[in-house]
């Protein structure tokens, strides 16, 4: 039993419930977790990008002695000109390098991966020996062509052409239905793992999430009870503070 991990479990439980408290109504507990998260995430990202600057830009100069890397470092420092009044437009110089490189790489790869490969992959036989594959192939080819036709913007969707685009829209709707169904799977997975955590279920991957082991995890429910007491007290104080006339849930002001 590691005391730090035990405290970690209770802190984790408190945080999880502070976020879930938004379901009851927006409250200071929820807002606190949002601000703590933005701060921690930004601090961590800063350390990550600083380390990369040292590896990719400073080490070549100071470790490998390759002085040509001084030029990119100077160019890179111009990014910070945006915070000065007079030289603020200088940051556009290093930015243009990033933009130019980004555009070039995008043009080449987006066309190859999203256009060419997808067009080639839809060139499949419309008639094969086996009836089922034939049906599947026709659905794939016709579906791709018709849903693409729906996004043709210069022609009004009327008459025969309107018929094609309407069927195309039905394929897009089936796609959106699949996305809707899949989204349910994704969101339920998240709440299930949170419940596994809150009830201290040994099946929860404690070690793989740096939360100690199942032995400390078993004490999670105590944290749940503690939080409910604290939150209940907050609601009690909140209810007395606001005059009786206003309904409790009015607090969701912008």
């Amino acid at each position: 039993m590691n005391p730090i991990d035990l405290i970690g479990v209770w802190v984790g439980v408190f945080i999880t419930l502070m976020v879930l408290s938004f379901l009851y109504k927006e409250n200071p507990f929820f807002r606190l977790t949002e601000y703590v998260f933005i701060g921690l995430a930004a601090g961590y990202a800063f350390a990550a990008s600083l380390r990369l600057f040292i590896d990719q830009a400073l080490n070549p100069i100071f470790v490998n002695g390759n002085l040509t890397f001084i030029v990119p470092v100077i160019l890179g420092s111009l990014f910070y000109a945006q915070f000065t009044k007079k030289y603020s437009s200088l940051y556009r110089l290093p930015l243009s390098l990033a933009i130019g490189y980004g555009l070039g790489v995008t043009i080449w790869s987006v066309f190859a991966t999203f256009f060419v490969k997808q067009v080639i992959a839809t060139m499949i036989p419309l008639f094969t020996g086996d009836a089922l594959t034939t049906f599947d192939n026709v659905v794939l080819v016709a579906g791709t062509i018709l849903s693409l036709s729906y996004f043709i913007l210069h022609r009004e969707q009327k008459g025969v052409w309107g018929g094609f685009t309407k069927i195309g829209k039905y394929f897009i709707l089936a796609t959106l239905g699949a996305v809707f169904g899949s989204t349910v799977l994704g969101r339920m997975a998240i709440i299930i793992q949170r419940v596994q955590f809150l009830v201290g279920d040994p099946a929860f991957p404690w070690r793989a999430l740096g939360m100690g082991t199942a032995t400390e995890g078993a004490y999670a429910p105590i944290g749940v009870v503690a939080f409910l007491a604290v939150f209940g007290y907050y609601l009690y104080r909140e209810r007395n503070k606001t005059p009786k006339a206003e309904p409790a849930s009015k607090a969701t002001k912008a």
Binding site: S149, H154, L173, L176, F180
Partner: protein, 248 residues
């Protein structure tokens, strides 16, 4: 190598069609349900209930947000005409400034600047769930007749769509984010799906240059359709010359 040639062919075709579109001042196809917007705004004025519009969490450089603001210009103009009360809620500070100017100029054009009040265009929050909670609060209090939520949306779209469905009579949505489109489709009376959102920009824009940029890519789409048809037919008869050519 062949893919480079095909890229050049597609780009030339798009440029050529765009040039024609500018010369002939072509328009993109009408937005499904555009005329319904006019009826809804008239009904909102009759029932003395407001018209609510929110463009999502995108910034002024986000394509979806720009398309949404084009639609806001149209809605604002009609709200002034039928003197329905317009209410706009924003998440991005720069979009807030932009929408304030747009609504103010809509009233100015009709010579009724006095009627514009600052609480028509409100800044909620840049934080995703605070923005959603704020918009839900406004929807519950104002009970608008029409709820427009068009533009750049993430996971918060579902909350706005659900609350809007409960409070508003009509709901008009639009985004290119496929992950959120299902929640728009099942809760809105009219939804602009993916690139259709940009037809709003094209259809409402007076600048033929902007419209041609939307019509140009149609050439690429038609080319893709023809290639797929040709390739599929050829391979049906066992000939994979086109596939081999494109994979060079």
């Amino acid at each position: 190598m062949s893919q480079a040639i095909l890229l050049v062919i597609v780009l030339v075709a798009i440029y050529w069609v765009a040039k024609i579109a500018v010369k002939r001042k072509l328009k993109t196809r009408s937005i499904p349900g555009l005329e319904r917007i006019d009826e809804w705004i008239k009904e909102a004025a009759k029932l003395n209930r407001s018209v609510f519009f929110t463009p999502g969490t995108g910034g002024i450089t986000t394509p979806d947000t720009l398309a949404a603001l084009a639609l806001l210009g149209y809605v604002a103009k009609h709200c002034v005409e039928h003197n329905a009360r317009l209410l706009v809620a924003n998440s991005d500070p720069q979009v807030q400034q932009l929408t304030e100017d747009m609504v103010k100029s809509a009233y100015a054009k009709a010579g009724r600047e006095k009627e514009y009040s600052t609480d028509m265009v409100r800044y909620v929050s840049t934080r995703q769930f605070a923005y959603a909670a704020g918009v839900m609060g406004i929807l519950r209090r104002e009970k608008p007749a029409v709820n427009f939520f068009v533009g750049d949306f993430q996971a918060e779209a579902l909350q706005i769509a659900e609350t809007g469905r409960g409070e508003a009579i009509y709901q008009f949505g639009g985004t290119t984010n496929t992950d959120q489109l299902p929640f728009f489709m099942t809760t809105c009376d009219q939804t602009l799906i993916g690139e259709e959102l940009y037809t709003a920009q094209g259809y409402l824009s007076s600048d033929p240059e902007a419209v041609s940029r939307l019509i140009g890519p149609d050439a690429g789409k038609i080319l893709a359709i023809l290639l797929i048809l040709a390739g599929a037919l050829l391979i049906t008869f066992g000939n994979s010359i086109l596939i081999a050519l494109m994979e060079l």
